[in-house]
Structures are given as structure tokens and as C-alpha cells.
């Protein structure tokens, strides 16, 4: 990938989704959806509640399979390799595509052990390597300075915003290529939300970020590309500035301008 004048790689698709349909017990929840997630940029999924954006997000790292009765049809390609298919291990997929949840869910362990969890699961047990990677992950999540003196304290003692950054650090520690974030700041106060948004901006340097948000303004602030979902369908997908200034679909315009939602 050649660099453009901004020092950023030319936009190239990282995740190619074609005709993805998710259904629960025979009832269609989302789809069919086709779009290209651009590498090393931020893509936001917006839409009113219940429109299927979270379901779609979870199908990108095969987390929907945990729900009994869920069926996924269509294809998702990560760097031209499918992630669905017989013989494809969801565990390997989830190591390349990480996820941060709406409500922070740190383990009841120490801060260090939380971040190191994914590494230990992957067989890494050299203490120096673990310590180095934990520090790196916490730095990337803009949490290192705040917690470096209390790495052995319980993660549950952190504030809400810190816990969410801890969960981001935990996801980053396994060096995924794509980071999925399901309304990461919806449970946080405005200051913590601002921190998370700045973090997303920084992270998009090195990671492909897909973020679900019910807050349009947040999408406008952080995202390069935006997809608008409505009632289980993808209505429009384009660069953020286009979606917010010159949307092609009238439903998109109605949502953006606040006529419903």
C-alpha cells in the first residue's frame, strides 16, 4: 500500500462483507448487507435502536454463534480470506478481530492480569514479554500513566471510563487487525466519552476500527466512513462527510436531520 501525502496508507478494503444475513430461529434480524470496511480507518454504524447494527457487528467476529438458534448466511472476507465456513476456527478469527463491549467487563483480576489474559491464553508466559506487551497495550489505550503504579490492584477499582480503556487495552494486547466497538462510550460520562473518542482517533492509525454508535454526533466526530442501518437493512454507506452533508437516501437524510430516531 503506497502512502499518500498524509502519511496514511491508501484506503483498501480490510473486511469485505457480501450478502450477510443474520437470523434468529428463522426470523431474519439483519441483512442482506454488503459493504467494504476500509483498512486503518474508522467506520461507524449508525441507526435507531433495534435496527440490527449490533447484530451485524457481532457477526464480524463470529460472536453471534454463541446465541442458540442464530444462523449466519453470506460471506465475510478478512484480507480475502473467509471467516465463515466449515473448518474455520472462530477462535483464530477472534484473535484477528477484537471486540470491545458496551458495558465494560473487566475480569475480577488485577489490571495486569486482565490485559495479559489474551496473551496467556495464547501460550505466552514469559514474565518479561507479558510485562512489556501489557505496558504497550496500556500505552496504546492511553491508560498506562494512570495505572502503572497499581498494576496488581483489582481492575474493578477503576472508574467506568478507565475500565473501558482497560477493556480496550485488553483487546489490543493480542494485536488484532480489526477492532470492533459496540457503543463503547454509551455507558460513560461526557469527559470519559471524550477520552474514548480521542483514543479511537489514535487507534485508527494502526487498526481498522468499526464502531457502533447510537449517537450521530459521535459518528460525525470520529468516523471516516459511516453506514446507516434501519430496520435490519443497510440503507446507505459512504464517507462520513458525504453521509452528513449530501446523503443519497431520503431515509438517511430524515435520520440525520432528526425527523425520527
Amino acid at each position: 500500500m503506497s502512502a499518500n501525502s498524509n502519511g496514511k496508507a491508501e484506503p483498501a478494503p480490510k473486511l469485505i462483507v457480501r450478502d450477510l444475513t443474520v437470523s434468529y430461529d428463522g426470523k431474519k434480524a439483519v441483512g442482506p448487507v454488503s459493504l467494504d470496511i476500509v483498512g486503518q480507518h474508522v467506520t461507524a454504524l449508525i441507526g435507531p435502536s433495534g435496527c440490527g447494527k449490533s447484530t451485524f457487528l457481532r457477526s464480524l467476529n463470529r460472536m453471534n454463534e454463541l446465541i442458540p438458534g442464530c444462523r449466519v448466511a453470506g460471506s465475510v472476507l478478512l484480507d480475502d480470506a473467509p471467516i465463515y465456513g466449515p473448518g474455520i476456527d472462530p477462535v483464530a478469527v477472534r484473535r484477528r478481530i477484537g471486540m470491545v463491549f458496551q458495558r465494560s467487563n473487566p475480569f475480577p483480576k488485577s489490571i495486569q492480569e486482565n490485559v495479559a489474559y489474551g496473551l496467556r491464553i495464547g501460550g505466552i508466559d514469559n514474565p518479561q514479554e507479558i510485562a512489556g506487551r501489557v505496558e504497550l497495550a496500556l500505552t496504546q489505550a492511553a491508560l498506562w500513566v494512570e495505572v502503572r503504579d497499581r498494576l496488581n490492584d483489582s481492575a474493578l477499582g477503576l472508574s467506568g471510563g478507565q475500565q473501558q480503556r482497560l477493556c480496550i487495552a485488553r483487546a489490543l494486547a493480542v494485536e488484532p487487525e480489526v477492532l470492533l466497538m459496540d457503543e463503547p462510550a454509551s455507558a460513560l460520562d461526557p469527559i470519559a466519552t471524550a477520552h474514548i473518542e480521542e483514543l479511537i482517533n489514535e487507534l485508527s492509525e494502526s487498526y481498522t476500527v468499526v464502531i457502533v454508535t447510537h449517537n450521530m454526533q459521535q459518528a460525525a466526530r470520529v468516523a471516516d466512513y459511516t453506514a446507516f442501518f434501519y430496520l435490519g437493512e443497510l440503507v446507505e454507506f459512504d464517507r462520513t462527510d458525504v453521509i452528513f452533508t449530501k446523503p443519497s437516501n431520503s431515509r438517511t437524510e430524515d435520520y440525520i436531520t432528526g425527523r425520527f430516531g
Partner: protein
């Protein structure tokens, strides 16, 4: 630290900058913040990766230290170790233990009881008809069902034992159901939460008392009291052992009933009160029926326990296998019979076989009580709430 303009400095992809148009929703404040963020970043001169990490370790301006991370070698994660699959299979196999146990229990006690049907040596002394049908024994005036396995002519009439089990169980349930349910009603409907915190563990203590201790208490203490109180002829009888048995059953019924009563939604109580019902009417017409599946579960469990309990009756019932309607007479239950006589039997003999037959009978009875109880409870739940 001087701020040089590094090559990788991010452009502000602020929408305002793109075409000068501020769309609805993007506030001026967020734009300002973007610019503000830009100035907070600092890039110390970096020559080596170690230097980068060392710089990050020092506290610098703000909390945003965008040090180009000195990346360690690309992370390679190993797949799960092989022994995990073996462990999962072990889990699956071990999970069958309960099924295997139940099957083995039935098989092996039935196996030892089976000779009653096919062994000539055993059948010479005892058959099903000899056990269940009263017959005329030498030395007796009329035909009767008599349990006298150790005598010149061994007699294996089961009815005295069955009657004994029934008597003791009836006494135990008659005492424990009112007490258990009544106490549960009080604790769930009238008592303060603080009281509940204290009383619940205390009743669990009662549940934890070993049955041999209850039997001991019945034998040493209660028997004397009852005899004095009621003027009974025999010290150890169905009444004493039944009451002592109820001590073991009460905590079961109490715990289940209390949980069930507490689980009744407040909305039911409020609706009933709003319709003008008095407290006692709400409790008896709404709360108790709503809790009936849970209470029934407790009663079924208690019934099973009462039928099968051994030590209490062994110690307190007097161990006289007679047929009598009176609760004041000594009696013998099936379980106590097995416990008392198994030590002295000849392995493989008729007596031994009959005792195992009694054990099988007991097993099947409690199995039936459990199954019928489950079915009844499920029906109750359907009747109440539409789904089991």
C-alpha cells in the same frame, strides 16, 4: 521538550475543514476540542525504541503520550494445548456419573433381590405370596401377616413393616407440613428482613443436624417426656419416632415453602389489596396458591425423606413388627428393618434376599414419589402461569 512537526502528525479530519459547512449536530465545541487535542500532543526526539519507552515512562504533559510504540516482534499466539480436548472429553464422560450411579444402584440391589423369583432354595422359605398374603401359621388362631424372619419357621409377612412405615410417615407429615408451611408464611409475610436474616440460617442449622442425633434425642429425651405426658405404655412408639422424624422433614418443607412464598410477585399482593382484600385473604387466596408449586416440591421432598429415613426410626420406634392401628404402639419401618437385620443374615439366604427386596421396594417407592411429585408440580406451574 520541543515540539517539532513530525511526519506522522494526523490531519484534523474535521468536517468543518472539508468544505466549510457545519452540518446539523456537529457542535463548535467538538471542533474546538479537535484543535485542542492537536496542541496537546508532544513528540520527544526518539532515536531508539528503548528511548521511546523510557520517554513514555516519565510523566509528561497531559495524559496523551503518543509515542510511536516500539513494537516487539509480531505476536504469535499458540492454539489451545491438546490436553484441553482430552479434558473436555473427560468432562463429558464424568457427567454420566449420576446416570451410571442410579442405574448401578437399581441393578445391584435388584440383583441381590432377584433370587426371590427364581432360586428354589430361597423360594422354599419365602415367595411373593408368602410376603404379601396373610397366612395361617402354626400356633396362631387366625391367618396373619407376620414378620418373624429369625425363628424356627421364618415368617416374612411384609404388612407390619409397610404399616409401620405408613404410620410413622403420616405422623411426621402431619406435624411437619403445618409447622413448616406456617413458619414459612410467617417469615415471608410478617417478619422483618432482619429477622429473616437470622432465622433462615438457624433453620438451616436444624437441617444440618444428623439424623442419628435426632434419633438419639428421641430415644433418650423425647420418649420419656411423651410417656409421662401421654401415659403411654411403650416408651418407643410410632408417635415418638414420627415426631422426631418431623424434625428432619420440617427444614426441607420450610426452606422450599419460604423461597416459594417470597418469590410471589409483589404485584399480586398489591392487586389483591387494592381490591379490598384483608391481609389474611390475600395470603390464603393469592399468595399461597401462587406459591403452591414450590411448597408442593418441598412437601414431596419431605415425603420422600420421611419414607426413607432410617436412623431416627431405628432408634426410636421400638422395633416391634406388629400390626396395630394405634400410634402408641411400638412399630417397625421397612428402612429400620433393613438396617437392623442385615448385619446378621446369611449371605445369599432367604432373609438376605428379602431385605434386598425391601430395599428395592423402598428405592422404587421414593422414585415414584419423586416422579409423581415432579409431574404434579409441573402441572401446577402450568395451571398457574401458562408455562412449566
Amino acid at each position: 521538550m520541543s515540539v517539532t512537526k513530525p511526519k506522522r502528525f494526523r490531519e484534523v479530519r474535521n468536517i468543518r475543514e472539508i468544505n466549510g459547512f457545519v452540518p446539523f449536530g456537529v457542535t463548535a465545541m467538538s471542533q474546538t476540542r479537535h484543535l485542542f487535542v492537536k496542541s496537546e500532543w508532544s513528540y520527544p526526539p526518539v532515536t531508539t525504541p528503548e528511548g521511546a519507552i523510557a520517554m513514555a515512562r516519565q510523566k509528561t504533559i497531559g495524559t496523551k503520550i503518543a509515542v510511536p510504540p516500539a513494537r516487539p516482534p509480531k505476536l504469535t499466539l499458540a492454539p489451545a494445548p491438546l490436553w484441553h480436548r482430552a479434558a473436555e472429553w473427560t468432562l463429558r464422560v464424568l457427567a454420566f456419573s449420576a446416570v451410571v450411579a442410579i442405574v448401578l444402584i437399581l441393578v445391584f440391589i435388584a440383583k441381590e433381590a432377584a433370587p426371590i423369583f427364581y432360586s428354589a432354595a430361597v423360594r422354599a422359605e419365602v415367595t411373593m405370596s408368602k410376603m404379601w398374603v396373610p397366612r395361617l401359621w402354626p400356633g396362631y388362631d387366625e391367618s396373619a401377616s407376620i414378620w418373624q424372619p429369625v425363628s424356627e419357621i421364618p415368617k416374612f409377612g411384609i404388612w407390619p413393616l409397610v404399616l409401620g412405615t405408613v404410620k410413622v410417615t403420616v405422623v411426621a407429615m402431619a406435624v411437619s407440613v403445618p409447622l413448616g408451611v406456617g413458619g414459612a408464611v410467617y417469615l415471608s409475610q410478617y417478619a422483618r428482613p432482619r429477622t429473616r436474616e437470622i432465622v433462615k440460617p438457624v433453620v438451616e442449622l436444624l437441617a444440618g443436624i444428623p439424623s442419628v442425633v435426632l434419633g438419639f434425642f428421641a430415644l433418650m429425651v423425647m420418649a420419656t417426656w411423651f410417656q409421662r405426658l401421654f401415659g403411654l405404655e411403650s416408651r418407643l412408639n410410632a408417635l415418638v419416632s414420627g415426631v422426631a422424624l418431623s424434625f428432619a422433614v420440617i427444614p426441607l418443607i420450610f426452606t422450599f415453602a419460604e423461597e416459594a412464598l417470597r418469590a410471589v410477585p409483589r404485584s399480586y399482593v398489591e392487586a389483591s389489596t387494592a381490591l379490598g382484600a384483608a391481609r389474611w385473604q390475600t395470603i390464603s387466596r393469592v399468595v399461597l396458591p401462587a406459591a403452591s408449586p414450590g411448597i408442593a416440591a418441598g412437601v414431596a421432598l419431605g415425603l420422600g425423606r420421611a419414607v426413607g429415613e432410617t436412623m431416627i426410626v431405628l432408634m426410636a420406634s421400638g422395633n416391634a413388627a406388629i400390626i396395630s392401628a394405634s400410634l402408641a404402639d411400638s412399630t417397625r419401618t421397612i428402612s429400620a428393618t433393613i438396617a437392623a437385620e442385615l448385619a446378621e443374615v446369611v449371605f445369599g439366604g432367604a432373609h438376605y434376599t428379602v431385605l434386598f427386596f425391601l430395599g428395592t421396594l423402598l428405592f422404587l417407592t421414593t422414585f415414584c414419589i419423586n416422579t409423581i411429585g415432579d409431574w404434579a408440580i409441573r402441572r401446577m406451574k402450568i395451571r398457574l402461569g401458562g408455562t412449566a
